[in-house]
């Protein structure tokens, strides 16, 4: 069972993630179109990171997190490469979904 301090810390980290997501949502109203997918994928990376601190991320998620970290900045200079990277993530997660029990 997690201690109160640890729970408070997790709550704070989650609050920061929610702040990031809501300000991203607001920013996306006016920002370049590709920032939307970037913020979503960046949120996902942050969420996996948080899950990892709780021992809830498996090897698959850690591998995907590393892939996101390595490729997400393609959005700044290679839109086609960024889209291809998103396509690969879609396949990775779909295969994982197909293999997983409901």
């Amino acid at each position: 069972m997690k201690g109160k301090v640890e729970e408070e810390k997790l709550g704070y980290e989650l609050l920061k993630l929610f702040c990031y997501m809501i300000t991203s949502a607001r920013g996306c109203v006016e920002e370049p179109k590709l920032y939307g997918p970037f913020r979503l994928i960046d949120s996902m990376e942050r969420l996996i990171s948080l899950l990892d601190t709780q021992g809830l991320a498996d090897d698959f998620l850690r591998k995907e997190q590393a892939k996101i970290e390595e490729n997400k900045y393609l959005v700044m200079q290679d839109a086609k490469g960024f889209t291809k990277f998103l396509d690969e993530l879609v396949i990775d997660f779909t295969q994982k979904l197909r293999e997983s029990a409901a």
């Binding site: 993630l17 702040c19 990031y20 300000t23 920013g27 920032y35 700044m76 200079q77």
Partner: protein
């Protein structure tokens, strides 16, 4: 280093070592900003510097564009009241923002000379940053420059050629 070398050396750096930036270096960056040109010599802007980790994390939480692990944030804020009083609507809505952009570039170039990396960011929620910093209503955060000692420096992206950039060049009679 030649100015042009410094200009070419500047990259948008997001990953830094843990080493804190010395106060005298931050003061030098502020000086560099102050010496930027300003429309009508109005200088309708101010700076907030944040080095405390907890506050950087809070600002990052409402600033989706502040990525990585900067050890200092320099936040350039327009003084909208002063800009309007001295420069009218164009001073408030256009020129003060342009002044801030030029000042930010000065900061980034001086940062190179000081061995620092930097990144200019506009993707943040102005109202949220103002709230976190407890800034008065007339002070509008317009740009964040994230800073630190670089851990890694990205490769330069490709750039347009001069031929692709200059769309018309009207030369003088003696320059044919």
């Amino acid at each position: 280093m030649q100015v042009f070398d410094i200009i070419k050396k500047r990259r948008s750096v997001r990953f830094y070592t843990d080493k804190a930036i010395e106060e005298d270096k931050l003061k030098k960056l502020v000086e560099a900003a102050i010496w930027a040109p300003s429309a009508g010599n109005i200088h309708a802007w101010n700076i907030v510097i944040v080095q405390r980790k907890q506050d950087i994390e809070r600002i990052k939480a409402v600033s989706p564009g502040v990525l990585g692990n900067a050890t200092a944030l320099v936040i350039l804020c327009a003084d909208r009241e002063k800009a309007y009083d001295k420069g009218g609507e164009v001073g408030r809505d256009v020129l003060s923002i342009m002044d801030i952009a030029i000042a930010a570039q000065n900061i980034c170039l001086e940062a190179i000379e000081l061995g620092l990396g930097s990144c200019i960011i506009r993707s943040f929620n102005q109202a949220a940053v103002r709230e976190l910093l407890d800034l008065p209503k007339n002070i509008a955060p317009e740009l964040v420059v994230s800073l630190g000692y670089p851990r890694s420096i990205p490769n330069p992206p490709s750039r347009r050629t001069a031929e692709d950039t200059v769309i018309r060049w009207i030369k003088g009679e003696n320059d044919q």
